[in-house]
């Protein structure tokens, strides 16, 4: 399972590491601002239509989820009718097995790949490399990550954590690049070296943004054109399709495509969007001769008909990441999952369970900005909260929480103890305070230091609000009486 990574570090350690990398979180912040602004302009231009589109997309996706077995079957049968070779993968390991089998059948040892989260999810690259198969990532950012042996920090622009000179250096060292640090020059170098690889590769591997049940078609959205290269030149093509990618028909596809690029990058449409229905036809010179579709579940069906079924609507646009205040600071690397940000907080435990995720689901302030921006109206922050509830219900929370909350419960529900605590609190805090607040000097006190190491903590007031309010009311009444005289 490769959904989680960097699991040796705790959430706190990963977060610390990301917070200390100013370039990284500033890069994410800039990306958030750019995408947010562009998206906002487009949404505004659509007026009321935007909300209607969202609602329509929601009803369509819900309909598919409610009849998921039917639509999975319909898609599979129609894709087969189009001439695709179907492979069914209830688990990620089944998918890997099928892919290795295809390579073996063709005696192939060289593949190009266009970005696909599903292949990351199953750890495809590692397995293929182990089997002696060369696999090249062809999306610019993914190629940078592969060459640098790094992980994505954003799902749409995954290599933002490297600056231009770091990227130029990576290619100087590994691919003999001898140009400047200018992004344009580096990109054109990539165009040159990757083009050779596209034309030579035996197998093309790609993902699928939406699969159309009625026509058995798969689709791919890219800006760079690497997806098109992958599905034009290699003779054998492998398409990874998640069972949660299905839309019923072409009309629904149009609705999704009106939402996806706008939500993802603030563009009305991406440079390329291809609708693929089977291998090349008679008389066609390019396009794959053989199309293999790996239709994969890998834990998704358990989300259907559960408290997390809303998540099956997700189109992986990244809009929730682009608005999230936590993501802005801890970046994609803080979460330790290939699915980061708000969507990742819901999806990751949904797919891998609660045992190995550290306290990831607490990396959320429950502000709800994600929910408001989600193009398919997933109540993301409610689902994050639901994970927390489940973790506590299943006794998988930190063992110390139970006695702490018991003690706090006792404190708050017992009037004499509460009153004593409140009365004693103020003078004790005063002893430790400077200028009416606990500041960084109080970091020797456990628990308190988590707050005071970065900000001040005002001391308790000596009088209680209720006492003040009572006096205030009395005073008002007195003044009113005075007024009548």
């Amino acid at each position: 399972m490769s959904i989680l990574y960097n699991t040796e570090a705790t959430l706190a350690e990963r977060v610390d590491e990301c917070l200390s990398d100013d370039f990284k979180h500033n890069a994410i912040k800039t990306a958030q601002e750019v995408f947010y602004k562009k998206r906002g302009e487009l949404v505004e231009e659509m007026g009321e239509g935007w909300q209607q589109l969202r609602m329509h997309a929601m009803e369509v996706r819900n309909h598919v989820t409610e009849n998921l077995d039917y639509y999975v079957k319909q898609f599979a049968q129609n894709a087969e009718k189009n001439g695709c070779i179907m492979h069914y993968a209830p688990t990620g390991d089944d998918a890997l097995w099928e892919v290795l089998d295809i390579f073996e059948q063709h005696n192939a040892c060289y593949a190009v790949k266009s970005k696909s989260m599903m292949t990351e999810e199953v750890g495809l690259n590692e397995i293929l490399e182990e089997a002696g198969i060369k696999i090249t990532e062809t999306d610019c950012a993914e190629n940078i990550l592969q060459t640098a042996e790094s992980k994505p920090s954003h799902i749409v622009v995954p290599a933002l954590h490297f600056n231009r000179s770091a990227i130029a250096d990576i290619y100087r060292e590994k691919r003999g690049y001898d140009g400047t640090d200018v992004p344009e020059e580096i990109t054109h170098f990539l165009r040159k070296i990757l083009r050779e690889e596209f034309l030579e590769a035996e197998v093309g591997i790609r993902g699928c943004n939406f699969a159309v049940a009625e026509t058995g078609s798969v689709t791919l959205v890219t800006n760079e054109g690497n997806g098109r290269m992958v599905d034009t030149f290699p003779k054998v093509q492998i398409v990874f399709v998640g069972i949660d990618r299905i839309v019923p028909d072409l009309d629904a596809l149009d609705t999704m495509m009106a939402l996806l690029p706008r939500s993802a990058v603030g563009a009305k449409m991406t440079a390329y969007f291809s609708l693929d229905s089977g291998p090349r036809g008679a008389g066609e010179v390019d396009g794959p001769e053989e199309v293999h579709i790996v239709l994969m579940d890998n834990g998704r069906h358990e989300l259907a008909n559960s408290e997390f079924s809303d998540m099956l609507r997700c189109m992986r646009c990244g809009a929730c990441l682009n608005i999230c205040p936590v993501y802005r600071h801890i970046t994609g690397h803080g979460y330790g999952s290939i699915y980061p940000g708000p969507m990742g907080l819901v999806l990751t435990p949904g797919l891998v369970g609660y045992d190995d995720i550290d306290n990831m689901v607490y990396a959320c302030s429950l502000c709800g900005a994600c929910t408001e921006h989600c193009p398919v109206s997933i109540p993301i922050h409610d689902l994050v909260r639901q994970h927390r509830i489940n973790i506590v219900d299943q006794g998988k929370n930190h063992k110390i929480e139970v006695p702490i909350f018991k003690a706090l419960g006792l404190f708050w529900s017992n009037m004499p103890i509460y009153m004593a605590g409140m009365t004693l609190g103020a003078p004790i805090m005063e002893l430790l305070a400077h200028d009416g607040a606990l500041d960084a000097d109080s970091t020797w006190i456990p628990v308190v230091k988590n707050w005071t190491s970065t900000r001040d903590f005002d001391i308790l007031s000596k009088s209680r609000f209720r006492t003040w309010f009572k006096e205030h009311k009395e005073e008002q009444a007195k003044n009113a009486e005075g007024g009548e005289q």
Binding site: A27, T30, A31, M46, E48, G49, Q52, L53, H56, V60, H63, N67, L68, D69, Y70, V72, A76, N82, M86, Y88, A89, D93, D101, D139, C140, V157, P158, A159, R164, P183, T187, H188, R191, E214, N223, E224, G225, N226, D231, F233, I243, L250, D254, T255, A258, K268, T270, Y272, F273, L275, D276, S277, P279, E284, V285, D286, G287, H301, E302, A304
Partner: protein
């Protein structure tokens, strides 16, 4: 359970079980949708749609030219006759084996351009040679089946006379589209496709030059596909 070789039932049964279905339904009716989205193109006249198509094209760095059907060859020859963009060096061209290009006399018009050193018509019998021609070509010319006003997108199906490589490998892609084929949104194109018995192996929706912002969010045009895109709208 052993790995691999799973059947469709192996995949579907757990889903049915999760949904509480004893078996997969034979048929599911599409519900009456409650919401129907209005689009920015609603209520626009055809002329307005054409100008929206042009405006949107400009925003995403596509050059637009107009011509009458009779002047199509001349219009295309003029664009490629300028040679390689920016440098003005001699160039080569690959174009779809489309009846409309033949009728317009495109081959002769291209041959008359001094800066065009070679023009290749896509030929399904030539196999890999076509792809090689596209790989080295400066210009690839295709005839799109539709233009989408909302997003300045063209729809380009793959067929024996028009391979995928023509709009992908050359430095510049020129897409010809009939003004009459400009529709409001992708929805209309999808509705037309839905009527087809069998869909083409690929319908590619193209909106502008290939681009990336992967390095420090700086937009760079010309990544794996064309660096320049031109539309020629035929009245």
């Amino acid at each position: 359970m052993a790995l691999g070789n799973k059947t469709l039932d192996d995949l579907i049964n757990p889903i049915s079980k999760q949904l509480g279905n004893a078996k997969v339904a034979d048929h599911v009716d599409m519900p009456e949708w409650e919401f129907k989205a209005q689009r920015v193109t609603d209520g626009k006249s055809h002329d307005e749609l054409v100008s929206m198509f042009e405006d949107e094209a400009e925003k995403i760095h596509i050059s637009v030219a107009h011509c009458k059907a009779a002047d199509l060859a001349a219009c295309l020859a003029k664009i490629v006759g300028a040679g390689v963009p920016e440098t003005g060096e001699p160039c080569t061209v690959v174009y779809a084996a489309d009846e409309r290009f033949r009728a317009a006399g495109l081959a002769d018009a291209l041959a008359a351009e001094s800066l065009v050193t070679k023009a290749t018509e896509w030929d399904e019998t030539a196999g890999e040679a076509c792809i090689e021609a596209a790989r080295v070509a400066t210009y690839g010319i295709t005839y799109a089946t539709a233009g989408i006003a909302e997003t300045a997108t063209i729809a380009q199906p793959t067929c024996p006379t028009c391979g995928r490589a023509i709009s992908l490998l050359p430095l510049c892609h020129i897409a010809v589209v009939d003004a009459a084929a400009i529709v409001p949104t992708m929805g209309e194109v999808m509705a037309d496709l839905a009527k087809e018995e069998k869909l083409p192996s690929q319908v590619c929706f193209i909106s502008g030059p290939s681009a990336t912002a992967d390095i420090e969010l700086v937009r760079v045009e010309g990544v794996h596909g064309p660096m320049y895109v031109n539309y020629v709208i035929v009245e």
